[in-house]
């Protein structure tokens, strides 16, 4: 009886835990009101060997791009509801527009548009894992290249 009692107790606790876990997961997806978008505007060049310490979290990603120096020009964060359009100013009159579409299976669907004034340079729809980023290498700037790191986190 002791064994049965212990098994029953353990199973009950385990079931409760599973219930909480699944309930939590379900709530997580249902309760998302939008995303937080973070755009890091980075200047990559070979003019020197400086590495901006503020970019240390992305060192591995930037290292694969083979430039010698990386400097963070601007960092901007916006909270964007689903289907709303967020715009970010990029040097030299460019604008990055991002529309978060939906959240499913821990992945966020985004529409991304890069404009130069009114002229579209790039339109893309992609699905990215929550809390991840991707890179969009854009215009030449000050002897180097602009790299935009676009990070997405659901809210």
């Amino acid at each position: 009886m002791n064994l049965l009692e212990n098994l029953a107790r353990a199973s009950l606790l385990f079931s409760l835990w599973l219930l909480v876990l699944t309930a939590d997961l379900g709530a997580a997806e249902r309760g998302q009101t939008g995303v937080q978008l973070k755009i890091d505007t980075i200047l990559a060049s070979n003019q020197n060997d400086d590495f901006d310490p503020r970019l240390s979290g992305m060192k591995n990603q930037l290292a694969e791009l083979k430039y010698r120096s990386y400097r963070l020009l601007k960092e901007e964060t916006q909270k964007v509801p689903w289907q709303a359009n967020a715009t970010f100013d990029i040097p030299r009159g460019r604008v990055l527009g991002v529309v978060p579409q939906e959240y499913r299976n821990d992945r966020v669907s985004l529409k991304v548009r890069l404009l130069e004034g009114d002229k579209p340079l790039l339109d893309t729809t992609l699905t990215i894992r929550n809390r991840r980023n991707f890179l969009l290498a854009g215009p030449a700037h000050e002897g180097g290249v602009l790299i935009l790191s676009i990070s997405v986190t659901t809210q």
């Binding site: 835990w17 070979n46 791009l65 890069l114 339109d123 893309t124 699905t127 991707f134």
Partner: protein
């Protein structure tokens, strides 16, 4: 000169013969002149004697043959290796512990795989955690390259364009790296 409290504390050790010679002598001299401590010594000796007597009495009448019979029976059971292993393993796999261990292991494994969501790639590389899928792309006449970094698996969208007015040699771009 030791006081009575100190003597009483040491009496047991003295009776056991475990005191040093100087201390023992001090106690002996004290007992010659102190009836209270002498009484304490007597009570302690009676206690020790009673203990031994009672234990001997209670243990008396145990014959050797039946006792040895019990020991031999255990030996002659010739526990197999399997039984010895079972004896060794039983405390580990006791039903009580197993009852808790099994669900705990399951919980642990689930937690382990769930951590992948919070610490991507920790469980053997970043091979899958950072994959971004491009569903559609339109560069509006510009050349565009998509590639995935080999180590970090990060998606990179690279735009190519030769723009009028741009100094194509302006600055040193990355080796072989295209830019607007």
């Amino acid at each position: 000169m030791m006081d009575c409290e100190a003597i009483k504390r040491s009496l047991g050790t003295w009776l056991d013969g475990a005191l040093g010679p100087l201390e023992a002598e001090a106690i002996e001299r004290h007992l010659e002149v102190c009836p209270l401590c002498l009484g304490e010594r007597t009570r302690l000796e009676r206690l020790e004697a009673s203990l031994k007597s009672v234990l001997e009495e209670r243990a008396s009448g145990i014959a050797f043959e039946p006792f040895w019979g019990g020991v031999r029976q255990r030996i002659e059971e010739k526990r197999s290796r399997h039984v010895r292993l079972s004896d060794w393993a039983t405390p580990v796999f006791s039903p009580q512990r197993l009852a808790w261990a099994i669900p705990l292991i399951i919980v642990f494994l689930i937690g382990l795989f769930s951590l992948e969501g919070f610490f991507p790639g920790w469980f053997g590389g970043q091979s899958r955690s950072n994959l971004t899928a491009v569903e559609s792309i339109d560069a509006h006449g510009l050349n565009v390259a998509l590639f995935r970094q080999s180590k970090t698996k990060t998606l990179v969208i690279w735009l190519f364009q030769h723009q009028e007015g741009e100094d194509e040699s302006s600055g040193e771009s990355g080796q072989g790296q295209p830019s607007f």
